[in-house]
Symmetry: C2
Subunit: 465 residues, 2 copies
């Protein structure tokens, strides 16, 4: 629906490549309508654009083989992990071959002594963390969905823990990548830091599969903290909650998570997760450290919250209580949908300097009200990043138009505040026009890099650029 323009199809090339790939991959190359549509389906309001075939690759050399065939025939190649991206990243606007990487799900090595591991792209974050738990290690990036680590790298994912542990760009040491030619490269060594040439690792992270397909990832790991505590505190207004966030970050408390739920989200959580939180904006926090450390952090936050009129401050190290609150936070998408059963929730994200956060969130609430939209807000507010979820009746064109106006307004507002049109969802198809508004001539440089690395534009065409 939004910005899902079809691109010219290379029918001859697609036919030729498909013939070869069917022979080469047999049953692993699927062309049934449902599997194709599932792989070209976004979780948002962007129209499905199915690829011509889906191949379930089992190794780097298979990915390389597929790409070589597609390169020879100038056919699009789209990498697919768990399909949880939100801006039409996996759509196939010019058709082509989708490479499903979920069967490349081996954890190849865990180097506990180096705090790193090597995984295939189809490994999900939950699979990895389950595997690591016995060794006292974890991988901190948590975008909510149980996404694949290849997809998380390709989209520069982050989520609730980013305020403490950074985003995927900060937690990947090296990548193995299949280039548009089919050639396989490694971007870096396993050293913790490097000054060896251009940072291809970071260039590929967030390139959304437009420059190559990630076939192996070397990830930094963290020791599971000795202690964790969670805290919650309610505020009269979003402004006061955001001021408390700003003070907490400025004070230097190394919060592991600091999440905002606006009043509408709190009501949704109360109903869905059977909680009895006060119906006002809420901050939900997590602290990692030593026993003494998390106690200190929790208590200092409590004092800061009080300064900004916080009420109902509670903190706990009990796993059961902590999990209940964080489960409610993770269920916010489903809880929000229950505010208006049958409506489509269109998740969008922006990120602004934290000094502008209160202003931006409040303005977004006002704008939604002005447009007659129900749009709960949650945010990874320690980074100035928040999500709006307009709940739309997709059969009502006026309401969809209002939703589009809202998203457009929100992106413009964030950009005008020296922020970005996307803190963590990425550009995909949906935000290409805002990328140009945000970065102007830098997008030409991106296009130049794309043309240099992928001259025939076969890698996930129609995304970012």
């Amino acid at each position: 629906m939004v910005d899902a323009v079809d691109l010219p199809r290379n029918e001859e090339g697609i036919g030729a490549a498909l013939g070869i790939l069917k022979q080469q991959f047999g049953e692993k190359c699927q062309t049934g309508q449902s599997v194709r549509e599932q792989h070209g389906h976004t979780t948002t309001w962007i129209r499905t654009q199915a690829p011509d075939a889906v191949i379930f690759a089992r190794s780097t050399s298979e990915v390389s083989d597929i790409v070589k065939v597609c390169a020879a025939h100038k056919v699009p190649v789209i990498a697919y992990g768990t399909g949880t991206s939100l801006e039409g990243h996996v759509n196939a606007p010019a058709g082509g071959i989708c490479i499903d990487l979920t069967e490349m799900a081996e954890i190849k090595a865990v180097h506990a002594e180096d705090l790193d591991c090597v995984v295939q792209p189809g490994v999900t974050r939950e699979q990895l963390n389950t595997h690591l738990r016995d060794q006292g290690l974890f991988f901190p990036i948590d975008p909510g969905a149980n996404a694949s680590l290849g997809g998380m790298a390709a989209t520069r994912a982050s989520g609730t823990n980013a305020v403490r542990y950074g985003t995927m760009k900060d937690n990947v040491l090296a990548l193995e990548v299949v280039l548009p030619s089919g050639e396989v490269i490694r971007t870096a060594s396993r050293a913790k830091k490097t000054s060896a040439g251009y940072d291809l690792t970071r260039l590929l992270i967030g390139a959304e599969g437009t420059l190559g397909i990630i076939t192996e990832i070397t990830l930094k790991l963290q020791g599971i903290p000795e202690a964790m505590s969670s805290a919650r505190c309610s505020f009269e207004t979003v402004t006061e909650a955001c001021q408390a966030v700003m003070a907490t970050i400025q004070y230097g408390i190394p919060v592991a998570r600091i999440e905002l739920l606006d009043t509408m989200s709190v009501k949704a959580a109360n109903a869905y997760s059977n909680l009895d939180l006060p119906d006002t904006p809420l901050l939900l926090l997590e602290f990692h450290g030593s026993e003494a450390g998390v106690t200190e952090q929790s208590e200092v936050f409590g004092q800061i919250a009080e300064e900004f009129g916080g009420s109902g401050f509670e903190w706990t190290t009990k796993a059961e209580d902590r999990n209940k609150l964080w489960q409610a936070r993770h269920d916010m998408y489903w809880a929000s949908l229950q505010l208006r059963p049958g409506a489509k929730g269109v998740s969008t994200d922006v990120c602004v300097p934290i000094s502008r956060l209160a202003e931006c969130v409040t303005a977004a609430q006002d704008k939604a009200t002005e447009l007659g939209l129900l749009s709960p807000i949650v945010g990874h507010v320690g980074d100035g990043n928040f999500h709006c979820l307009p709940l739309l009746d997709m059969d009502n064109p006026a309401e969809v138009a209002a939703g589009e106006e809202f998203v457009s307004w929100l992106n413009d507002m964030a950009i005008s505040m020296e922020g970005t049109c996307t803190g963590e969802h990425g550009i995909g198809q949906g935000k290409r026009s805002y990328l140009i508004k945000e970065l102007g001539g830098a997008v030409d440089v991106m296009a130049g890099i794309k043309a240099a690395i992928d001259p025939d534009n076969i890698m996930n065409p129609g995304k970012i650029i």
Copy 2:
């Protein structure tokens, strides 16, 4: 001397560009031999290659003007900060114009509430930290030299604090860059995180001026910790010291600094800085946090050190005592030179997974001994990064050859251990052959990016690629 091959000069273009630039910049365009040689002089054993002129730029638009003239005449342009790079980064192997950025030294904005600031490239880290002190903020990256922040970004600098605060790649939010065409772009917004397109910020950081000239930097800042403590502990062997480092990192102690001095370095420090440290390998640490936090960190480290035979463990929060030790660490280069007055100290760096650190350091010591070289070692060992400083009589060709063999051997050893030929010094001219050994086909991708962005190869030619 090492790898400083002259490249073909575009005499006609240089003459034409110089004529225009002299007229345009008057006294700001200098062609005297001493200023030219100073700007093409490396601090190491790589031969000086002077540019044809040095222009002291005062603004982004002046940089853009210079680059446009050079682009029109296909003349090399080399950015210059403080000239403290170590691998021939500022050499002019094909002549051309050096742009000295030291007069672009304005701190344009400090956004204390957002923990960021905007600086021109000639601002040095000490200048910035002096400016920030009253606001309770600091910029953590400390490569030793009082380098310019533009140069630090261009070379992806790091140093002693990187184990806690990361490298330049982790502490820059956005760049303003003059492209090889003279066009000016911004790579990102001021948001703390972003998924908006290719990560041009990270691509430019560490590109050593080969893709563009950095004319403005938006930096992340940190609050000055409530408390700091320093600790020191001596060990019988480098292996035990490294094992203590590994255990400290694995335990999750958020050390701000953890530095190794081998026995030879300790002796040099004792003599130069009038200390009485035991003549055995030493770890020097710094902890940042709350009062309770640094006490806890220091004491836990003490217990770990004891497990590995550490002796003489002491820790203190007294600024005077802390500064004395860290000053000695910062003076190590000068202290080491006193081990052999008149010799040239050739600083080289590698970085390996921390599990291989003891083995790599020990092997380096043995190799130096085998080659008859005096080569003290210090290291930012929390990252697996260390420096060797062979002290060479440059008038003795056999010794210089032994030095070259040592450096070559060290790079190969690091690469064979899944490490990198440079953790923080960069590639410049000196390490180009090792970059290819380390990353193979990925270097072709770098070359493709270089050709796309700088088709006439005017930006710092002969470096990295």
